[in-house]
Symmetry: C2
Subunit: 882 residues, 2 copies
Amino acid sequence: MCSEKKYIYSFEEGSLDLKPLLGGKGAGLSEMTGLGLPVPPGVTVTTEACNLYYETGEELPQFIKEGIQDYLTELEENMDKKFGDDANPLLLSVRSGAIISMPGMMDTILNLGLNDQSVKGLAKETGDERFAYDCYRRFIQMFGEVVLKVEAYKFSRKLDDLKEEVGADNDLDLTVDHLKELIDKFKRIVKEEAEVSFPQDPMEQLITAVEAVFGSWNNKRAIIYRDAHDIDHDLGTAVNIQTMVFGNMGNDSGTGVVFTRNPSTGENKLYGEYLLNAQGEDIVAGIRTPEDIQTFKDSLPEVYEQLVEVTQILEEHYQDMQDIEFTVEKGQLYLLQTRTGKRTAKAAIKIAADMAEEGLIDREQALLRVEPEHVEKVLHRQIDPEAEIEVIAKGLPASPGAAAGKVIFSADKAEKVAENGEKVVLVSLETTPEDIHGVLAAEGVLTTRGGMTSHAAVVARGMGKPAVCGCDLIKIDFEAKEFTVGDTTVEEGERITINGGTGEVILGKVEMTEAKLSEECKRILKWADSYKELQVRTNADNGTDASKAFEFGAEGIGLCRTEHMFMAADRVPIVQRLILSESAQEKQGALAELEPIQCQDFEEIFAEMEGRPVTVRLLDPPLHEFLPNLSELVEEVTKLRVKGEQEELRKKEKLLRKVKNMDESNPMLGFRGCRLGILIPEIYEMQVRAIFKAATKLATEEGVKTELEVMIPLVSELNEFEILREKIEKVAEQLLAEVDLELDYKIGTMIELPRACMTADQIAEKAEFFSFGTNDLTQTTFGFSRDDAEGKFLHEYLEREVIKENPFVTLDAAGVGKLVNLATESGRQVNSDLKVGICGEHGGEPKSIALCHQYELDYVSCSPYRVPVARLAAAQAKIRNS
Amino acid sequence: MCSEKKYIYSFEEGSLDLKPLLGGKGAGLSEMTGLGLPVPPGVTVTTEACNLYYETGEELPQFIKEGIQDYLTELEENMDKKFGDDANPLLLSVRSGAIISMPGMMDTILNLGLNDQSVKGLAKETGDERFAYDCYRRFIQMFGEVVLKVEAYKFSRKLDDLKEEVGADNDLDLTVDHLKELIDKFKRIVKEEAEVSFPQDPMEQLITAVEAVFGSWNNKRAIIYRDAHDIDHDLGTAVNIQTMVFGNMGNDSGTGVVFTRNPSTGENKLYGEYLLNAQGEDIVAGIRTPEDIQTFKDSLPEVYEQLVEVTQILEEHYQDMQDIEFTVEKGQLYLLQTRTGKRTAKAAIKIAADMAEEGLIDREQALLRVEPEHVEKVLHRQIDPEAEIEVIAKGLPASPGAAAGKVIFSADKAEKVAENGEKVVLVSLETTPEDIHGVLAAEGVLTTRGGMTSHAAVVARGMGKPAVCGCDLIKIDFEAKEFTVGDTTVEEGERITINGGTGEVILGKVEMTEAKLSEECKRILKWADSYKELQVRTNADNGTDASKAFEFGAEGIGLCRTEHMFMAADRVPIVQRLILSESAQEKQGALAELEPIQCQDFEEIFAEMEGRPVTVRLLDPPLHEFLPNLSELVEEVTKLRVKGEQEELRKKEKLLRKVKNMDESNPMLGFRGCRLGILIPEIYEMQVRAIFKAATKLATEEGVKTELEVMIPLVSELNEFEILREKIEKVAEQLLAEVDLELDYKIGTMIELPRACMTADQIAEKAEFFSFGTNDLTQTTFGFSRDDAEGKFLHEYLEREVIKENPFVTLDAAGVGKLVNLATESGRQVNSDLKVGICGEHGGEPKSIALCHQYELDYVSCSPYRVPVARLAAAQAKIRNS
């Protein structure tokens, strides 16, 4: 009529490039048609037609209606079928298909074209009258609901009434006559509710259905969805009109779903299932058990061969593993849909590696195909996705992987039970340095208090053990030796499983999949290394972690936290003596005991890294962290007072005074980090001696020179750095002079306070490296105490989308990231040799790694189990930005 | 000999402009000489000569020596005296005089020119042989010590020995013969120690003295001082050689010190004292009591008249009050020094105001003459500077002013004792909202814990009451009702005085000067208002504070903290019920009780401000601040448990559970501010209702429309602001609609987190004003918890100059200030109407106010007693920057 534009594309005319016009589904069907694959013929009415529909007052313009009619005529000729015919009827499906799939839109109407006449044709053709009338009954119901907006329950109530009346247990017990009766009733419902007769004219059915699809673009649910996801309201949806094919026309017919490769293992072999003489719904309904696709070659060998050929064409065309729906009608194969197949982590890695080896994709593509989280998943034991699980509570996902074992409430007992060969999950309020042996003995840890940075969480992540923390729904009764959660009580010795990746606590022991770093995974990571620009280091505080990280490909240690060395059960008493010392002599005594211990630790770590860079952070936490908890001590002293036990009381009272004296309102912002180093210099001096003694020993005895980087934490002001730098140099130079050794070392600082970022240009004049401590930087920038926020409001903030992403998980680009970028730029402006890295937990998180790449940092550092993740993420960041 | 340069200036040749060459003293003497005032003649050897002295190997070049000789010959002629003469000897003083005065340098040698001959001449001329020989004895001693570097004790021991030998109690008991004997002994000491004979040649004495002055420029103490104060080592010192005059030549001679105005009151009347027939030292030594300068006009009327004239000339010339030393030798007035006189706060204000009125200086100069702190000092009672005080401890200067009273250890008792008309100082560990009545009743507060932002400090500052906080040297024994500090024990009821301006705790009651806002002060502040660009508002949480601030010139309220309204003793129980409520009904009940109370508070505040802008901040602190202390509760519960008191125990255990549940590791970074507002919206809704009800009541009943500004605290993310803005608008619009009132109001946010600064451009799109909460912003930017830092490390940091200034006192320009500036600029870029102010305590601190002016903020807000300070500081910032 008017317009030069083309509003209707047959599948032969379309292609993937026209997706904005044809929508996802239409473009896919066209693409397959274009590849010469057997697709039931059809047309797509474009998204522009949808817009036109709205422009002309929610009516399909006449010229489009005519266009559809013209195509239909053509189709009838090609198919040798007639729309509405009582012998050989043409039946159609009508489906929506926007560019982005979204909920709320009208999806599918099948078997369009059925009416009182053509239902007879269908019965004849299929030889199954009951099937034909059931199709018709369903069509009226579907059309009534989605096109004519009749409330669904009106139809289903009639169906139920009839079943009760005739004593039918389920739909299949209804006879053809019952169905005919139901069809009459359904027509009456349509008449009463929609105030129109159920349209017998197939063309009218079609136009109304197309208009209904377009109309559903602007229904309330769709609008809300688009608003929420920032999707343009003008995109519009397309409509696909396609010839129906039937898989239930005898034993030369069938239907199935295949994956071009095994979506579970990645094996390059057709995978899937099928049913002969059946429709797609039959597979979904589960009435008959589908057959393995491998047996299809015996049933319909020629069709099978064609299917294999077709799926290979599709995989090659889309360059990815495909998930394909097909129907066979009387020996004729039809493809109804193809899409990129979902897969497990293991399969994703194998498929990407294999396809690159096969030359189907290049290495860059292969690297982009694997999600960084896939790599971590295969490093940890996981709960079998098929397992049925009973989740009884959910805490914080504090350390990934799954663990199952007997519930044990104390570290000592956990150790004993584990020694007897039993698997144990340690369950406690929180863990302390005294519980380390329990954590070590357990398969995993569950705590009811504490957040992602709690002792339990940090220790578990370091050990690669699963942990769920801060699960405050669980109430432990230590006397009764049981915990309750809601109505459930779990006694000590009962088995639970925890999922440290989701925070789930599960009753009983569930099936798991074992961890394995496959050859394909190693290959992918090797490729990643050749692309990435960011160096990947690890956070490791002992030789075991360092060794594990090295195995996972760490190129050095970005953060070695010396305080973790203080936390072992045999060391805490010495540290406490140090803190409580009342004379210089006592203090020196404690330090002298600690020095060889720390030195030994450093020796092990340095040896593992074989000369690679190691950044050692001097003592950071406030000293009261090593002392008993104030409330508990108050309770103890009060008890002693009432009981009048004088000697013990005096001892504890003295301790209490000290603990009260050292107590801080906000320890996070208190007397810690370099502030300790400046005011109590003996501790840092001891640590520096231990570091350099270890390094010189390794150098002289093994000839391995460690690239030492001594890091001063919590600097907010250049003077702090300068004062400590001088002290460190003095101790180091003296030790090196003693053994007459030349050893290059760097002195730098952790940038973890906003003021350090704002004055980075000053600090960089004296510092040789910056390492962003983004955990603390996030805390101070947001004013979020992580421990408090995660328990008190952060969860709800995330749920309500007050903030979009947990800034402790993903680096906050708008605030914290901006500070990191600013500090990096201004630091490098005055010191072009400045080495810059990040050692917060963000260093192992892909989106944050992408930001670090963008900020042009030199390295990221993360826990050992995140190292492979970081290697891949760093490569992806590079590939995506070049 | 060589050089075109002039190295020697007679006082006639010099002037103030030549200060770099002549040093401060030389330039001053020249200036007075140039004004035609009677100055004993002399020369200045320049600072360049000093450098030349070093260049030529620490010797005075010959041509300079000759220059000095030449001038001396001239001087002898002019004075009709002869150097070294036994009848009429010319005597000189030699003094150092650098551009900046500094310690460690050789200062003064008097009576140079005395030798075995000229001492006789001096005896003759003065008619006092004993005086002449004592001068000679002293000259040898002084010259020996400072020029010839003989150790001082060698001389003083000989003097003591002699006194013991002859049975003299003090120097004056020594006869002429004793002195002659001593002179011989001193000469021998010089010979033995310095290995030279004491020089009899006056010219040699002079040259050696000049070289000694130059030599002292590079002594160790002077070098260290210059290093520490960044003073250039090349400045050099000048040397002044001046004719001696004597005030002890009979009753027509004398000496004195005068101020051109009263340095204590500022009164425009000559002030000072004098002695006839005396030398300057006699006034200092205090052997004779000097006379009031007013009686001088009776003693020597002509000289007095000349003195008055001369001092007026000097004051007019220097345009400031002068402190002048003079000597009268035989009826001839000589001026020896003039300098700007030190003065009290009160005098500074009166002098500046008077001088401007007199036309001596203009108003800008007057405003710059008064230090902002002067203005605060006159608002508070101060310890009399003359009083002798015994300081027993020093805490934090938490609220300025001085208070004296009986030590009382509990708020209840303080109230009772005060009701009996006794003055009381409340002494406690810390104060809580329950102690407010005690603070109100007390003259001042002394706490042993807590910092500058502790409850006691904040409340005391608000009330204008002196407070010393965190004085942890004081140990309170509540059972014995006493406190000890070191060896001192103070019992309840004993009197102490506290100085809230210095943190000093003083034994007993000391003399004080009363507070008064003089007419002159009011005038100065009025002028300040006409210059300043910054608006000055106040922080006020109640009608009393608002009224006081209004009286002090506040132009609005920049911060009204609604939580302080919760803290009164009668309100805390309601707030606790609100927090502990277990049903919506209970919660609503508590809120319904609080609403009219808050409404009443707002009414009073709004009424006081008479329509000026009032910024009300919605609830900010974490709710657990209103609950009992955890440790104390643990102690209580433990006691109850041991005693087995079941009913009370159950009650307290329930409370303990709640308190434990709400306890936070870092409340500063916890569940507070807008986070509460979002998750517990009922509280903010109640507050907004109370605010708008109060405003509409005032508007409808009194016709006064308050410029309302509702402030959302602790925003770190735009979404937080938007969510709350919407809620506030809804409540406000509904209330305004009910009374059919148009009322403009603004909704803005407190910018107190680094992330808010970094995302200020986003927040400013929706916010109408920013108010920088620089207290919290300083805490998060530095990572300093103020309470912890001030007790644990900040003090030492400041003492060691790790940081130069307390960032909680003076805004940290390099870090926090940079963030403030960044946020202001980026906020205004997207919203040019954005109103920007500061409401942290920095708002009342002059240096910080200067920064705020520089950042072009719209206003500063500070506590009522700082308002006048801020008005003056704001004017000074403007004047200094234009």
